[in-house]
Subunit: 366 residues, 2 copies
Amino acid sequence: MTDTAPRPTLEAVAARAGVSRATVSRVVNGGDGVREPLVERVRQAVEELGYVPNQAARSLVTRRHDAVAVVIAEPEARVFADPFFALQLRGISKELTAHDNQLVLLLTEGRDDHARVARYLAGGHVDGALVFSLHLDDPLPGLIQGAGVPTVFGGRPGWSDGRAADTGPTLYVDSDNRGGARDAVRHLAALGRTRIAHITGPLDQTSAADRLDGYRDVMGDADPGLVAESDFTPAGGERAMRDLLDRRPDLDAVFAANDLTAAGALRVLRERGLRVPEDVAVVGFDDMLPVAEQTDPPLTTVRQDIEEMGRLMARLLLRRLDRPGGTGSGPGPRATAPEQDVPPGEPDGAEAAVVLPTTLVRRASA
Amino acid sequence: MTDTAPRPTLEAVAARAGVSRATVSRVVNGGDGVREPLVERVRQAVEELGYVPNQAARSLVTRRHDAVAVVIAEPEARVFADPFFALQLRGISKELTAHDNQLVLLLTEGRDDHARVARYLAGGHVDGALVFSLHLDDPLPGLIQGAGVPTVFGGRPGWSDGRAADTGPTLYVDSDNRGGARDAVRHLAALGRTRIAHITGPLDQTSAADRLDGYRDVMGDADPGLVAESDFTPAGGERAMRDLLDRRPDLDAVFAANDLTAAGALRVLRERGLRVPEDVAVVGFDDMLPVAEQTDPPLTTVRQDIEEMGRLMARLLLRRLDRPGGTGSGPGPRATAPEQDVPPGEPDGAEAAVVLPTTLVRRASA
DNA sequence: TTGAAAGCGCTAACAT
DNA sequence: ATGTTAGCGCTTTCAA
């Protein structure tokens, strides 16, 4: 039996230090208003006993959990085809950890899980939520705002209709999909390409829609035949590329909505005997290393700082929870919170966004 | 202000239903020993009030949290170069969800975080832990066993020295790295290849070491010059492949310890004008789709069912926690727990393992 | 500055 | 079968 090593309570520490429980509590929570010698005595007792506060007891009275839920809705397994969420999670985790908050991960598999997640959030088990909503018509974001939990979204949420704005402004962090797309297309144009095609992502995702908008910003009302809708997968990229080539055999550049798609396009191009970048220049999006560096030729692409997005989401939420410096539970020295500046979004409208810049990474494909 | 919508308590429900708190508690926790009409009345009151149990209060008395920590130690960013952990997480999440348990994610960035994690686990915030230990000399597993929390490891833990076995048997789930490697090499041999080289992973990781053992099982004491140590990265694969080719220009097959490495090897092979699989056959390991399907030619590789590993880890832990059917918190209908059979490991020695089979996926490279 | 005391919302003996 | 009661370990007024 490994169990029942009865952990010491506040009471035990108090007894050992010869003070009251209240004093121990004060010391454990920062020690303000307790005289030095006592602080020392208590610290020692804590040390000797190996005291760790019981979070449940604490939460019961403070109604705080120092925990944040991360909700990832994964309509398809696609989510895991790239390290996107992993990086995001890492950024989130770092920031949360620096503020002594726990990360509760909620993965959903379609509608069935919505109710579960909503119930959990409404259940007040966590102080806030970080939510990745992918689809325009996803009901989850709405449910979550309904749950009344402070929330920050990852990626621009695509509210299809009027939503409950009374819950306060919608906060989100996104990368500059539109601007990045513009850069990509401008780069192609600067290379002298004029018949620049675009393979889109699934347009019910805001990231894909925004990239298409960026393409259009630069291309104006170019031949709609230069745009092929696709789905962020390599197979989809192949299909789209074939269509494009059939429609416009004269195209001289392709901007693909992500690297996976670009990889598919590259294969079709090679198969048709077209040289990259001589005959057709190709630019991707994401700078997803295992793909972008492995293609032949290596992919010129638009990089987004995914980990930073995660960090920012967490920072925004924590700030919203009004928890600037962490809670400092436990006897150890507090983590030093980096607490950098969060770029200001819209003042205080119904939507407040932090949009991260992207950068073009030049490799051989364009 | 969105706050302070004071959530109803057990007391409120009891009042509304005209029963005692105890009765409500019973109903909420399954309703055994309460007569039907009362159950109904209580259910209704719960419904009307939108009552959700306060988990903190509950944990305080039951000393259970219905939460499990997942600890992922990531020595390098490598962890996120492939969807390995994402898939694992998904498997874990599914199983945990089916049993109404929460997933608390703990990501560590090197030694500094060890203490934090150990403290958290020892702090009794979760009922158990699922731990991914990658390195032979990783102190984390030891710390964790020391924390006295029921734990299941992902991947065979590489205890370098005698460890505290008094914490009970070490449970782990792994895939059959050694057997998979044997299959790969045998496949190559069956193709008529005789000079089969091996590019290893970092040998301080048990998965890499086990794959090397599998290679040796089949190759016997073949020329050590046919083995090149590498690091699971594409760049490392390139380097190793070059070495190998320099040492043994006559080699006719390569078994790479993972797909990323194989992709690097493939590039070098092509660069040297060698045809795959005609001149050199190549087999990878993992069946990491975005890579294995995108290489040229597509990679023959050993697939491991990563999501299943995760599911199994969770199942094992839950079982160890003696929680066969979930706790059924909340008013909703209970999730039906699939509760499949867990393949039996060693009877009850110091180590109990569940080793999942691998399968060879044939594509064009071998 | 420190201590005493009153709960936070729930479960689990123990009565009835 | 149902109700009563005593805490679980902590924070937080309120007094001293």
